[in-house]
Amino acid sequence: MSRRERYNLMIGLLFISPWIIGFLAFLVYPIVSSAYLSFTRFSGFGVAQWIGWGNYTRMAQDALFWKSLYNTAYYTLLAVPIGVVVATVLAVAMNQRLREIPIYRAALYLPSVLPIYALSFIFIWLLNPRYGLLNLVLRWFGVPPIDWLGNPEWAKFSIVLLAQLGAGQYALIFLASIRGIPQTLYDSAEIDGATQWHKFRFITLPLITPVILYDVIIGLGLGLQVFAPSYIITSGGPVNSTLFYVYYLYNNAFRYSQVGYASALSWVLFILSVVLAYGIFRWSRRWVNYEVGS
């Protein structure tokens, strides 16, 4: 290394030093520490007592752990694909030459920036079986009232519905990606007699796969970590039907003083997230197209 290079390295590290400190203090240390705690019995205060794999074997027999894992998988597997479809449809629709697009754009994006706790409050009232707007509208179409949040079958789905309010944000990301597709591709397809559907299926869709992948990866992360909606709307109920993984983790850590067990839960989530993200990246090589476009 020349003197110049060494100088640049020093200055570079100096500039990123806030991140390095934060990385070590707020990420590396906690990850290592929670790995250690996951092998202990620990109430949060006093001394952590080493119990080996005890927390992990306990997890295997813990019905609530499996229940919360199932609920989270159910939620993520519904919320993410529905979200991708909704965002794609909205983005394609917004790509049309309509003068009033800015209005739609604002309306569709707005819920994404609102606090989830406020949206959750609204949702409780919106979905109220008797006084809610949703059942009122359904009644106009002759649908009998549904107990959205009181029925274990519907409760999870209600939270999937709430998540769709965030799809507008992804629709705008998709739209930016669609606008980056060279017009010449569509023109030459048109000369070959392609229909609207063909153009969508063979030009638009393949070329927005990078942003679809982005949506899937971010959505997966958020899906596995879903907490606030069920905490606020259903408190995990009815009959634990909305007890999501992080909610169960939260209960163990901050309510039951089972900090060691909660740490083990957090590590299982960590490994699961990394494995799933890696799997999706591997799988995405088959369908993501990086050649043209944005």
Partner: protein, 294 residues
């Protein structure tokens, strides 16, 4: 911009009916209908919140619910503010929001500068690490962080919510780096020839040019702090320290939930976000597209 595409071909197109053109028209109307329906659905929660907020107790108990309030009880807003220590919580939330915003702007700008405007060995490798940290689920760090903050005596203070914002955030670093990379490097080179240090270049040359991106980070960080639910939930236990996100739960702690008042308080919390959103829509859209596309 593909919105302006084929304007020419439209003008030059023959008078004879073109099947592709009528298909395009149909597509236009289909898109319009989809967008109108979606926009209504996405704005409905806000509509229901505001209309519920001004309904009186008797009207709230009417079945089926009224779509438009028959009487507008504006006093619900003052009742809501007096029902909980709203002013106190507002100040708490504002303090956290302001410091988080300042922390995010300062730290991420400096770090992003180090990752974009200075050439040093291993830079892009470490930047890969920054991006990778996005995939670490927050629950895996939350328990040790809580334990550490408890040891420091920071529970029931705003410090656990503010201090980490001064140490960089992968999303904002990524976003600012994207922006800083686009600023011509000749600016820095010629300044260096004149003997300017990296600090001076950042402060006098890059900072003024990066204002739009800094605005995006400031807005996103402020909204994230204002909307935060989980952080205040675990770190603020003393009622006088509550933020609005936690304080609003109080409307539900009584046996009878005061829906009008809760919705009135929610309206007051959501309103600043909506105003900021409408004023800075452009920044929001730049932010999500800059932050997502490769």
């Amino acid at each position: 911009m593909s919105t302006l595409e084929s304007k020419e071909t439209d003008l030059l197109s023959p008078r004879t009916p073109d099947p592709r053109r009528s298909a395009r028209n149909r597509g236009l109307w289909l898109s319009r209908i989809i967008l109108i329906v979606a926009a209504i659905l996405y704005v409905t929660p806000i509509y229901w919140m505001v209309t519920t907020a001004v309904k009186g107790p008797t009207e709230l108990a009417v079945y089926p619910p009224t779509l438009l309030p028959q009487q507008w009880h504006w006093e619900n807003f003052s009742k809501a503010i007096n029902f909980i220590p709203f002013g106190r919580y507002l100040v708490n939330t504002l303090v956290i929001t302001l410091f988080s915003m300042v922390g995010a702007v300062i730290s991420n700008l400096i770090v992003a500068y180090g990752f974009s405007r200075i050439q040093w060995r291993g830079r892009d490798l470490i930047f890969g690490l920054v991006v990778a940290t996005i995939f670490v689920p927050f629950p895996v760090t939350v328990i040790p962080l809580f334990v550490t903050f408890a040891k420091l005596g920071w529970i029931n203070t705003f410090l656990p919510l503010i201090v980490p914002t001064f140490f960089g955030n992968p999303f904002y670093i990524f976003l600012l780096r994207q922006f800083l990379m686009q600023i011509p490097f000749e600016i820095s080179e010629s300044a260096k020839v004149d003997g300017a240090s990296e600090w001076q270049i950042l402060w006098y040359l890059i900072l003024p040019l990066a204002r739009p991106a800094i605005a995006v980070v400031a807005i996103f960080a402020a909204i994230a702090a204002w909307n935060d639910f989980f952080g205040p939930l675990i770190y603020l236990q003393d009622e006088s320290k509550y933020t609005l996100s936690i304080g609003l739960q109080m409307f539900r702690s009584t046996h009878q939930v005061e829906w009008s008042l809760l919705m009135a308080a929610s309206t007051l919390v959501v309103l600043p976000v909506i105003i900021i959103f409408l004023l800075f829509q452009r920044s929001f859209i730049e932010g999500i597209t800059l932050g997502s596309i490769k």
